[in-house]
């Protein structure tokens, strides 16, 4: 064939559409860009878009269809952990290739999957270290707040162990969870207030899932919990999520990512412009206010890394591409040159801490000097000692 | 006139069939939690001081009434006197606030559920015909038929030939043989009345409660119905509520007049009709 098919497996309907649609867009944009530059090994890329509709068994079905029926060379997709868990066996069975662009809880390594989002040590831990520093406000007490599912639970488990190692007593950690789609944060915020008012400097670490963030932040603003008193650092709130929030009362609350739209460097300027143009051209709703965010960048990076690996391997054969991917580097919009780790299929990524601005963007207040290597098997979870690569 | 005798014969045959214990183990069903019907004092229904009120309104007010085994009793009384409510109490649909209700000597109706009461032998025809609209007339009768009505049996139940014949008989009797397969919901009002009477016949209850059975029937049919009921009396006990005096007369039994929830007068029709209070509140001038 004179084209190479690639699959895009992101929910365009259902609860996850809110986040995943933008990833589909960025993937299409990247593919167009690659095609405009002559494609991969002289062949054009042909995107195959399907909608797994936020339904996990459907993810597996669609993954199988992409790999087995459409014979795509690689799939870019998934957001939630459970969707990834659902498709993992399919990629393993059919020896396909998946690029997963979202920060996640780790505790996994699959030969057929490349993780371009952050592992906990590339996001959560630096963020907490920052909060504990003088600069971050020397927090002594922590509220670990999340939606009740695996990513928050795991992250908080890791953080608890981490905090303990830093000498934070159990009494100074409050852990609380809300159901999916929870929209009433009155009690929780009252509890946080109470916990925070007991004397020690308190910070909130939020792993609240997308949909609940708007009510959470609205309540936060109206209940008068200011960032200067009790800062909230979030791991799943980025530019896209903040589009639904009036951020004026939230200035100063934080997020930790490997990329922010406000990062200033030529790659990012170009990336943002490309995406805005693409959005306008393709009639994306509200095209003039589209934003870029971390998983979008990760998608972009993932596709390029795959392209480079295919060109290096001179083949789209899964095993060859996997072999070629290790050690690939790419100058990412984050301004850093990212490297695909040879052994663990994760990227070395820089970490940024950003504070929310009144316009819904983030001011980077802290960043790592170098990209950090991922630790998918967190050393803070017992039993992981010695686990490294595949 | 030959037809009348034919009907009579059929009704009588029917009444006899009712005595036959042809279903397996009525006693063994365990359905009748409170024991067997005991008619040793020849009283089948015994109501004593029954009071029912709805939001302060006394629909039944210390009502006492007994019906003998085999008796055909007519109940008349002004609209709203509490006749239907009384039947609700007897069949367990409404629980009385006070008072006793016994079926025979031993069965305390106020403590039994509707299916238990039905099983013990009380059948009822409602004032507004209530039948199974989506079932055919035939199926309506089949469901009503006296049988073991527990799930386990019903799952594997099928019709015996004689049961089938009996249904056919009743269908003919209620003049719905041509409508056997029609959905009951599509029947006319009068036909529904008949169907409900048919269901009651199939049920072979010991006590039949009939709430305005001839409403919406022609005079001719009213007569036939009266004959049918008369022929059922003796073997069965009947309590008939009607406003049609001609019908009540044709039935010929003892008449009880209810008014404002209690008994106003009792006696044969002529006496009652002569009672000035009855004329005042009920019959009119």
């Amino acid at each position: 064939a004179d084209t190479i098919k690639v699959g895009i497996l992101h929910s365009l309907s259902g609860t996850m559409a809110i986040s995943e649609t933008a990833l589909k867009n960025v993937a299409l944009m990247t593919i167009e860009e690659i095609n405009a530059k002559g494609g991969v090994m002289g062949k054009k890329l042909e995107p195959v878009v399907v909608d797994p509709a936020s339904n996990w068994p459907l993810f597996a079905e669609k993954a199988r269809q992409l790999v087995a029926q459409d014979k795509v060379a690689a799939v870019f997709g998934c957001w939630t952990s459970v969707s990834r868990k659902s498709v993992n066996p399919v990629f393993k069975e059919l020896n396909g290739l998946l690029f997963y662009p979202v920060q996640y809880e780790g505790e996994e390594l699959e030969k057929n999957v490349f993780y371009t989002g952050a592992a906990p040590n590339q996001q959560a831990i630096p963020a907490v270290e920052y909060l504990m520093s003088a600069e971050g406000g020397s927090a002594k007490r922590f509220v670990l707040l999340g939606t009740d599912y695996v990513y928050p639970r795991t992250t908080n488990k890791i953080l608890r162990a981490f905090l303990k190692s830093k000498g934070v007593a159990d009494a100074d950690i409050m852990e609380d969870y809300t159901p999916f789609g929870h929209s009433d944060y009155q009690t929780i915020i009252a509890n946080i207030k109470k916990f925070a008012s007991e004397g020690k400097k308190t910070a909130v670490i939020s792993t609240i899932n997308g949909d609940s963030n708007v009510p959470f932040y609205k309540e936060l603003g109206n209940a008068g919990l200011k960032a200067t008193d009790v800062p909230v650092v979030a791991f799943s709130v980025g530019e896209e999520e903040l589009r639904g929030v009036d951020t004026k009362p939230l200035v100063g609350h934080l997020a930790a990512w490997n990329y922010f739209m406000t990062v200033k460097n030529p790659e990012n300027t170009a990336f943002i412009k490309k995406y805005k143009d693409w959005a306008k051209k393709n009639g994306v709703p509200n095209a003039d206010t589209v934003v870029t965010n971390d998983p979008m960048e990760a998608t972009y990076v993932g596709i390029y890394m795959w392209k480079q690996a295919v060109e290096k391997a001179k083949s789209t054969d899964t095993d060859k591409v996997i072999a070629a991917l290790g050690g690939q580097t790419f100058k990412a919009p984050s301004g850093f040159t990212l490297t695909m780790d040879k052994t663990n299929h994760h990227l070395h990524k820089p970490v940024f801490i950003g504070e929310v601005r009144a316009d819904g963007q983030f001011d980077v207040v802290w960043k790592t000097k170098e990209p950090i290597r991922a630790q998918p098997w967190s050393p803070f979870i017992p039993g992981n000692e010695g686990k490294q690569g595949l | 006139m030959t037809e009348t005798t034919e009907l009579e014969r059929r009704a009588r045959a029917f009444a006899e069939a009712g005595g036959r214990e042809n279903w397996e183990g009525a006693a063994a069903t365990g359905h009748v939690a409170t024991g067997e019907l005991d008619l040793s004092h020849n009283v089948i229904l015994y109501l004593d001081d029954i009071t029912v009120s709805f939001d302060g309104f006394r629909a039944l007010n210390k009502l006492s009434l007994t019906i003998d085994a085999g008796e055909l009793r007519c109940i008349i009384g002004p609209n709203g006197a509490g006749k239907t409510t009384m039947m609700d109490v007897i069949t367990g649909k409404t629980r009385p606030d006070e008072g006793k209700a016994f079926f025979g000597q031993t069965l305390d109706l106020t403590r039994m559920t509707e299916p238990e009461i039905a099983h013990a032998g009380i059948g009822r025809k409602f004032q507004k015909p209530t039948i199974f609209e989506n079932h055919s007339a035939f199926e309506n009768l089949e469901l009503a038929m006296k049988a073991d009505k527990r799930v386990r049996r019903t799952l594997f139940a099928s019709l015996f030939d004689d049961e089938r014949d009996r249904i056919a008989d009743v269908l003919k009797q209620i003049r719905l043989d041509k409508f056997a397969d029609r959905s009951a919901g599509l029947l006319s009002h009068g036909q529904k009345q008949w169907l409900e009477i048919g269901m009651l016949l199939m049920q072979e209850p010991k006590l039949l409660l009939l709430d305005e059975p001839v409403a919406g029937m022609t005079d001719d049919e009213t007569e036939r119905t009266a004959e049918l009921f008369v022929s059922l009396a003796g073997k069965h006990s009947l309590m008939v509520v009607e406003h049609d005096m001609a019908f009540v007369e044709a039935l010929g039994g003892k008449v009880t007049v209810l008014c404002e929830g209690s008994v106003l007068a009792e006696g044969d029709l002529a006496t009652v009709q002569a009672d000035s209070r009855v004329i005042e509140v009920y019959l009119g001038r």
Binding site: G224, E240, G244 | -
Partner: protein, 543 residues
Amino acid sequence: MEPAMNRLLLRLALLFASLACLALPARAALDPALVAGFAGDFNSRVAAIEALGVEGSAEARALLDAVEAGNLGVAADKVVVIDGDAVKDAASGEALQIPADEVETITVNNRIRRALATAHAALALSAESAADRLAAANTLTENTSESLLPLFERTLAGEKDEAVRGVLSRAVARVNLGSADAAKRLKAAEALGESSDPAVKNMLAALLEKRGEGKDASWAEPDAEVRAAAEASIKAIDRRIATAQAVGTVFSGLSLGSILLLAALGLAITYGVMGIINMAHGELLMVGAYATFLVQGLFRSYLPAYLDWYVVAAIPVAFFAAALVGVAMERLVLRHLYGRPLESLLATWGLSLVLIQAARVVFGPQNLELANPGWMSGGMELAAGVVLPYNRIVIIGFAVFVLVLIWLMMQKTRLGMFVRAVTQNRPMAGCVGVPTARVDTLAFAIGSGVAGLGGLALSQIANVGPAMGQGYIVDAFMVVVLGGVGQLAGAVWAALGLGIVAKFLEGWAGAVIAKILVLVFIIVFIQKRPQGIFALKGRFADS
């Protein structure tokens, strides 16, 4: 007399200074030592900011503003201020020959912002309005330190306002609690009984700690009298906290209840009264919310001065937008389904899919931003940090308003009677002369419009996005059914009951378990009341 005089003089001086600032490019120099801290590490920067606040001169103010604007930086070991393209020495204000982009500006993060707030508060202690002073005093109390003591005492000497005095003297007491003078400590411990701050309670509790055992036992606070005072004060604080929190919980229950009610009221009409199993009800909420969003957009572009009132203007818009969608739904689809309630489930499920996707295609899949207007932002602070947010208070009021409206409509108008009659016996309603088709459309429009109002209210609390309705549909049905289908009063009790039960359970068992328990509660409750709270009694009920 004297303090007033002081303030007057101070203000005059300030005025003069700022005039001077405007008039003269050169200004009075600050002590370079004050500024030097900015060149140091993070902590010294924070200290520098606080020092500037205490200093309080116009130059200091200007410098603080520069920090806040991100214009203060360090270049060539000098602390400098960027002023347009020019770079000036921070202390002296001399222009320097350093290009602006070589200055490494000080990042303004939370810590800096907090220091700035303290500094500003210190400055504001001499503000004219008592409210400003009170706010400043409150801010300072939260971050007291020994260094602020002189400032407090200075201000207390001249302060007249009782509230401000109270706050400040408690702030002083907090500092004095650590004093070496037992008398001071005693006074402080007594004074703090007026507080309702858990932090104060912890400070007092620390005094009561016992170290060691038996004979060697020693108290953190050696003076028994002080301890007794502390104990009494703790009790007083506890009482205040407990009441405030109980009020807070009841309030959040009411608030949750009112939101459930608003989400369910429209359904109480379309389903409860008309009998249409409206699975697209959530999407009608969404339509109302999106309409609100559009109104906000219009105000932003055309009436920015009145932006704060967009929510009020959105009330009719949200109502009619949703009503219009409702009419379309009724005319095109539901009209053909009366008397087939189960089919309405299927059709409205389809409609819901279509509406969600339409919103996604037109507005995009993300959430939309709806800001609380100024008068709905923030909250009323009860004691002990319990805040009743204004948006929630407004929504409770709004729920009552909508409820009264519907109640009047259903019970007091002929339309209401017609609607009830049509649903009870459609053919017969026609046979007494009710134009059934029109009544249906109207009733459905009203129900949908009310759902739109619900959407408007939700937009002030929660997500506005294509799938927002899905989050409420289950709750809405539960409210309507728990109350008893067709019983508006039932829906009200159900919503409030669920809200308050949920909030009390949540305080006790956490949000997840609370939600599960609430559902179990519904299941058990229905066992007791198989027809909902306001069961229809009567002989027709079971037929």
